[in-house]
Symmetry: C3
Subunit: 119 residues, 3 copies
Amino acid sequence: MKKIEAIVRPEKLTETIKGLKNIGITGFTVSQVVGRGKQKDTKGVYRGKNYNVTLHPKVKLEIVLSDYMVEPTINTIIDSSRTGEEGDGKIYVYPILEAYNIRTGTTDFDIDDLANKED
Amino acid sequence: MKKIEAIVRPEKLTETIKGLKNIGITGFTVSQVVGRGKQKDTKGVYRGKNYNVTLHPKVKLEIVLSDYMVEPTINTIIDSSRTGEEGDGKIYVYPILEAYNIRTGTTDFDIDDLANKED
Amino acid sequence: MKKIEAIVRPEKLTETIKGLKNIGITGFTVSQVVGRGKQKDTKGVYRGKNYNVTLHPKVKLEIVLSDYMVEPTINTIIDSSRTGEEGDGKIYVYPILEAYNIRTGTTDFDIDDLANKED
Ligand SMILES: Nc1ncnc2c1ncn2[C@@H]1O[C@H](COP(=O)(O)OP(=O)(O)OP(=O)(O)O)[C@@H](O)[C@H]1O
Ligand SMILES: Nc1ncnc2c1ncn2[C@@H]1O[C@H](COP(=O)(O)OP(=O)(O)OP(=O)(O)O)[C@@H](O)[C@H]1O
Ligand SMILES: Nc1ncnc2c1ncn2[C@@H]1O[C@H](COP(=O)(O)OP(=O)(O)OP(=O)(O)O)[C@@H](O)[C@H]1O
Ligand SMILES: [Mg+2]
Ligand SMILES: [Mg+2]
Ligand SMILES: [Mg+2]
C-alpha cells in the first residue's frame, strides 16, 4: 500500500478527480495549500525587511491505494492536471505501513494488496 | 517512531482528543480536509460539464509517536471516532526517519524509542 | 529523496523561508494547522462536558529534497524558527519513494539523488 500525494492547480482538481474515477479511484483526501517551486524570476529577491515571497495557491490530493494502482494513477494525474506551463505541480509517493477503516475496525488491505505483499 | 494519520468526522474530534489524552497522548496536529471514500451511490455520475463531485468535510489528525504506542492509539481512535455509519474515516500509519524538537534542537526520541530501535 | 515536515510558529514562517532560500531551497508547500504538544499546564483538564482543549495555530512547511540536503535544512529551520519558548514546534523526516514534475512528466530526481541511491 502506498500514498500518492499530488500538488496540483486548484482549477485542475475537478478534471483530475474525473480522471481518477475513470480508472476506478474514488477514495481520496483534498486540502488547500500554498507553495513555491524552483524560483527562476528575479522578483521577490531578498531586500532586508521589504522582502516578501509570493506563495501560490494549490490543492493537495492524497490517495492511499494498492501498489499495482500507483503507476496508472500517476499517469492519470499527469494527463488530467498538466497545462505545460510552469507551476503544474508535483507528485510524491510514500510508503504506508498499515491502513484501517474506522467503521469496520478492520485493516483496509484488499486481496490485491495481500497478493502484492509477496513480492 | 511512526506517524498515525486519522481522517475522522469533525464532530468526533473532541471525543477523539479526550480518548487520546486518557492513554497519555497529548501531542498532535489537526487540519481541515475534504474527501470521499468508496462511491456507492449513483448520484454524481459523470454527465459531461454538469458533473460535480461532493467532497465531505473531515479533520485530519496527525500523531507522531513511539512504536509501542501505535496499537493502543489506533484502538483508541477507532473507539472514540466510530459511529458505525459509512464515512467514519480511515487510519494510516507511516514510517518516520527522524524527529526533532525545535526549542531544544535535539532529537525527539524518548527512552522507549531507543529501546525499540534494537528490534 | 526525503520529505522534511516542519511545524512552526506562523510568525516565524517568513524568516524560515528566507533561511531556506539562503541555502538554495526554494521549493516547498505550506498549510495551516492547529495542534498541541506536551501538556504541562493544569488548565484544560478533563471536566466532563465542559472540557475544551486549546489548539494552537501553527504552519506546516513541507519540503521534498535530496538526501544530502536533509541535515543543512533541519539546521536552518531550527536556527530561523526557534524562539527558545515552549511551542516552537517539531521537524519530522519521511522517506519518499518516487517524485514527479507534472509539467515535464519526468521523475524529479536530480544527479545527486541518483548518486545517493548507491548507498
Ligand atoms: N521541493 C518541493 N517540496 C515540496 N513541495 C514542492 C516542492 N517543489 C514544488 N512544490 C509544490 O508544488 C507546487 C508547484 O511547484 P512547481 O510546479 O512550480 O515546481 P517546479 O519545480 O518549479 O516546476 P516547474 O518548472 O514546472 O514550474 C509549489 O507551489 C509547491 O506547493
Ligand atoms: N483511499 C483513500 N485515500 C485517501 N483518503 C481516503 C481514502 N478513502 C477515504 N479517504 C478519506 O476518508 C474519508 C472517509 O472515507 P470513508 O470512511 O467514507 O471510506 P470508505 O472506504 O468509503 O468506508 P465506508 O464504507 O465505511 O464509508 C474520505 O472523505 C477521505 O477524506
Ligand atoms: N507528537 C506530535 N505529533 C504530531 N504533531 C505534534 C506532536 N507534538 C507536537 N506537535 C505539533 O507541534 C506543535 C508544537 O508543539 P510543541 O513545540 O509545543 O511540542 P512540545 O513537545 O510540547 O515541545 P516544547 O516543550 O518545546 O513545547 C503542536 O501544536 C503540534 O501541532
Ligand atoms: Mg515552478
Ligand atoms: Mg464511504
Ligand atoms: Mg509544548
